[in-house]
């Protein structure tokens, strides 16, 4: 937090809202309503977007810890296969197989695959979709648009509780005797459909499907709300081209989600039919468990098309909110407009559109007609262009700025570095010829972990540190935040960079052990290194968790409304905004959100009218 000198603009801003704000008679009919009247309606079944945002965040953090711990367990098995995991037996029970003679415990292969599957499912869906866009879309859309709340607070509340329900079902599946689902987060049939192919495909798969159908409902309810709010509840003067990039990102993400998640759900329903009703959408000519199955005429490849039709947009659903957050954080902390605001918006729109026509780059080696792969290569490499433009814009935002280092801005800068690294390896994989060798190897694992497992997380962390004061009226500890950053930045690169080399050497992913093949046995030392790096980096995340929860009650109090000196509307509410966000009028908007350093002034809030001598707006 920088400039401490009492900012005269604080009361000036209140004045502006009082004089120029929009009176929607909100508080005339507020008294006497039963909204937020008891503990349950205030904190549990809340319909206030700010509480719902916190619910998404904390639930997301819970799942991040679970998903992260799972990765540590299977990394221990991979990196140190000779060491005993018997000490995990009290927690993992029969899934740790202890050799009667040596006493050495190993992870059962079935459960290794279950952990890998659950890790992917939990982090992609529960943490990076719900925990990232659920949190920040809910928190920021009404606040940054000058709205009282979301268009439908009731649907908003339901969207969180469907997410919670999805989590309960998934959590329950971890304790089944046949084990949780273990066919990869991608759940390709026939493996995922046939219980005789894998014990995880018994009840574990059923619960996995139920959980994710509830999850899709949550995403759709949330998405409809975000879109409606952005289109209809912008305050006076807030045209689309005056929205902060965060809101643009959340809006575009919601549209992508609305169009793509139903396809995933439909794929899952067809899987349920194949499993339970004897249909053959995805099955044909199978001999398993000593008998030929009745199913004929279906195709496993059809499932892959349906899955990846969501699967690819899904990764943009994950990264776009992080990108929006980083644009905002870098701009505020560099005291400079985001470079190329319009280009940033057009890039996101281009990425959103293109994301729907590249899905089969996940299927180059699936047996699809190689001819169609041509189109998917072309569009995949085209999508690199708007992504590159965004990277250049972030770098240019720092150029000749006045960069203030906070935990938030550090994670913003770290995001750009990670997105460069991870995005560039996507160019290798998007080229089908190269993908022949690299498909399903550790090269792919390295690529998606760097863009999702690190970059998207960094966006989320930047958002947490930056908007914590808005959420709780207190600051998180900055020093701990910086230590968290450096530990994670260094550690994360140490974990995933080596995986590129392993992948290029041809080592396949989803292998329980590598010593069955001469060709894949060269990397014992590197695997140990990766495992140790993973344990250490995960430990650094504890700093965030401790910092977060401690600061909710004991963090340094926010004393002025706009601690980061930002121009956007969320900082014009009282420090602890109540229901309805603004106590009196709604603010009206007079300018775009990035007037930092204009005409020699540190910043000009969006609510301030254009001055008579001001340089005309030419952004």
């Amino acid at each position: 937090m920088a400039n401490v000198a009492t900012n005269p603009a604080v009361s000036h801003e209140d004045q502006l809202i009082e004089e120029l704000g929009y009176n929607d008679h909100f508080h005339d009919h507020h008294h006497g309503d039963r909204y937020q009247s008891n503990f349950v309606t205030t904190y549990i079944f809340s319909q206030d977007h700010k509480i719902i945002a916190k619910q998404f965040l904390i639930t997301g953090m819970f799942w991040a810890i679970i998903g992260g711990l799972m990765s540590l367990v299977f990394r221990l098995q991979l990196g140190f296969p000779e060491e005993s995991l018997a000490w995990l037996k009290p927690v993992l029970g029969k899934w740790i197989v202890v050799n009667a003679d040596t006493g050495i415990g190993t992870l059962a292969p079935d459960f290794y695959y279950a952990l890998v599957t659950m890790h992917g499912t939990i982090i992609v869906f529960f943490v990076l979709t719900a925990g990232l866009s659920g949190t920040f879309s809910n928190l920021l859309i009404p606040l940054q648009l000058g709205a009282r709340d979301m268009a439908s607070p009731l649907l908003n509340m339901l969207s969180y509780w469907f997410f919670f329900l999805a989590g309960v079902v998934m959590f329950f599946s971890l304790f089944l005797s046949t084990g949780p689902f273990s066919g990869g987060w991608t759940a390709y049939p026939p493996l995922s459909i046939l219980p005789q192919a894998s014990s995880g495909s018994a009840s574990g798969m059923t619960l996995w499907l139920v959980s994710l159908v509830f999850f899709v409902v949550s995403v759709l309810l949330g998405g409809i709300n975000y879109i409606t709010t952005v289109l209809n509840l912008r305050t006076k003067g807030m045209s689309m081209w005056r929205m902060p990039l965060t809101v643009w990102a959340f809006f575009i993400t919601a549209v992508i989600g609305l169009l793509s998640f139903p396809v995933l759900a439909s794929g899952f329903f067809l899987v349920m039919f194949d499993r339970n009703l004897g249909t053959s959408f995805f099955l044909s000519e199978i001999y398993i468990g000593g008998k030929a199955l009745e199913h004929v005429g279906g195709s496993p490849v059809l499932y892959q098309h349906l899955f990846w039709f969501l699967g690819h947009p899904e990764v943009y659903i994950i990264i776009l909110p992080a990108m929006g957050i980083v644009s905002e954080v870098l701009s505020v902390h560099s005291r400079k407009p985001i470079f190329g605001y319009k280009a940033m918006v057009y890039s996101m729109l281009a990425i959103a559109f293109l994301s729907f026509i590249v899905w089969a780059h996940h299927m180059f080696m699936s047996g699809v007609n190689p001819f169609i792969s041509n189109f998917f290569v072309i569009f995949t490499l085209i999508i690199a262009v708007p992504s590159a433009v965004k990277v250049f814009n972030w770098i240019a935002t720092l150029y000749r700025g006045n960069v203030r280092y906070t935990a938030a801005s550090l994670f913003g800068i770290g995001f750009v570095s990670m997105f460069i690294s991870g995005g560039l390896t996507g160019i290798f994989l998007g080229n089908s010829a190269i993908d022949i060798q690299l498909h399903d190897t550790y090269f792919v694992v390295a690529h998606f972990h760097i863009v999702m497992g690190i970059a998207a997380f960094f966006g989320m962390f930047a958002g947490i540190y930056h908007w914590f004061p808005k959420m709780y009226g207190r600051f998180m500890n900055e020093t701990l935040g910086k230590i968290h950053f450096w530990g994670t930045m260094i550690g994360a690169y140490l974990i995933f960079w080596p995986m590129h080399y392993i992948g290029m050497a041809g080592v396949p992913r989803r292998y329980y052990r590598f010593d069955t093949f001469q060709s894949f046995s060269h990397f014992d030392e590197l695997n140990k290194f990766i495992t140790i790096a993973a344990v250490v980096t995960f430990a650094f995340q504890l700093l965030l968790v401790i910092n977060f929860f401690y600061s909710i009650w004991k963090g340094r109090k926010v004393t002025e409304k706009n601690p980061w000196q930002a121009s956007t509307l969320e900082w014009t509410t009282p420090i602890n905004p109540g229901h309805g966000n603004w106590p009196g009028n709604l603010p009206t908007v007079q300018r775009w959100p990035y007037d930092y350093g204009k005409d020699g002034r540190d910043f000009i809030p969006q609510i301030e009218p254009i001055g008579p001598d001001e340089t005309p707006d030419r952004h």
Binding site: Y188, I413, H619
Partner: protein
């Protein structure tokens, strides 16, 4: 006991963390916010530059250290005719992305360092620059086009199926949980028809013995192929998805139950030749068994391998077959030695549909087997 220690450590770390937090808050109160932020800005910006240097050096150094595992470098040379074009695409892509990587990472961290907030300075109000933006949109677009054209050129050539006029060997690999059943066409050069409904203990692939093309097919325990001859691998799966993956040959294709797939390639290096090339690298001039110094060298025991590259259940990591590439005459000799599965296991038995018929290559039909039980053996 361990649990208690772990719990205690977590509690201690938590307390420790909170104390660090409190101390730093105090320090910043004492120094004053502005001055503290100034110190932080200076310090963090230096860390940025240090990180950049260490990162780029480590990335380059580790790349050089692991060069021998990168596609197209070192000992893992492609053993197929098309592999070279894939490796070249990789190198070209590495060249372009490498340049972008270095430039953007440097600019990012140098700007973060150089433009740290200093008291008394103001940032420049630069919101966009049309000319610059056009340039940095066009250049990536051009590079991408170049990569697309090169890549698709290679792709369409590699993935094209063969016409009947071309001279090639066809073999079949069937993935199952958890291994590969291999089938060669035998002297007639043609694989016979099979159906999953016919699979049984004595007929692991479900071959239809009424189809005469099946009668000379044999099931080897390893893939043996002649150098220099085109091979079309017919790839099928019995139960779930598998993937036929030959890392050294740059061959990879999903095995889908109900939908046969294929991959065409030409081996260009015999196993012996590849071993000779490996012997030039120090990492292969070590005993194959680290615990037995007298064992053969790693390069001497090298074998091409077939692996599965699509998650297929608990044994996914163990589906191994050896692949041996030999000189054409050795291949002929090996092929001549192989026994047809039908004649070794089925002829004259229950499932034999040709009982009483003299088949090509036979002198007389074998006698019908004596009935071993009262159940009718009529098919």
């Amino acid at each position: 006991m361990t649990a208690l220690l772990v719990l205690l450590s977590i509690v201690l770390i938590t307390i420790f963390t909170i104390q660090i937090g409190k101390v730093t808050e105090l320090a910043s109160k004492i120094r004053g916010e502005e001055e503290m932020q100034d110190i932080i800005n200076r310090r963090q910006s230096v860390y940025m530059i240090v990180f950049m240097v260490v990162f780029l050096v480590a990335a380059t150094a580790s790349g050089l250290y692991y060069k021998n595992y990168m596609l197209g470098f070192g000992p893992l040379q492609p053993a197929s005719a098309h592999g070279g074009s894939l490796d070249t695409m990789f190198k070209v892509t590495l060249f372009f992305t490498g340049i972008v990587f270095v430039i953007t990472q440097i600019l990012l961290f140098v700007f973060a360092f150089k433009y740290r907030a200093r008291r008394g300075t103001v940032s420049s109000f630069i919101s966009h620059d049309n000319k610059l933006e056009v340039i940095w949109t066009i250049i990536p677009a051009v590079v991408m086009t170049f990569l697309v054209v090169g890549g698709l050129d290679a792709w369409n050539e590699v993935m094209a199926d063969l016409t009947d006029e071309e001279d090639y060997i066809e073999i079949e690999a069937t993935g199952f949980q958890f291994g590969w059943n291999l089938r060669y066409p035998g002297p007639d050069g043609q694989l016979g028809a099979k159906s999953f409904k016919l699979i049984s203990g004595s007929n692991p692939l479900g071959q239809d013995w009424k189809d005469k093309k099946n009668l000379d097919d044999f099931h080897p325990g390893e893939i043996v192929l002649p150098k220099g001859k085109k091979v079309r691998v017919r790839i099928t799966a019995q139960d779930v998805l598998h993937n036929f993956y030959l890392p050294h040959f740059r061959v990879k294709m999903d095995a889908v139950p109900g939908m046969p797939t294929y991959f065409v390639f030409t081996p260009i290096k015999t196993t012996d030749e590849y071993r000779q090339e490996l012997s030039n690298y120090p990492e292969y001039n070590v005993p194959a068994d680290p615990k037995d110094p007298a064992s053969k060298m790693l390069w001497e025991v090298f074998d091409y391998e077939l692996a599965c590259a699509e998650l297929c259940g608990r044994g996914h990591y163990s589906m191994r077959r050896v692949v041996r590439i030999v000189e054409p005459d050795e291949f002929e000799a090996w092929q001549a030695q192989q026994q047809s599965y039908f004649f070794s296991n089925v002829r004259g038995k229950e499932d034999d549909p040709w009982k009483g018929v003299v088949l090509e290559g036979e002198v007389a039909a074998p006698a019908a087997p004596a009935p071993t039980d009262t159940t009718s053996t009529q098919k």
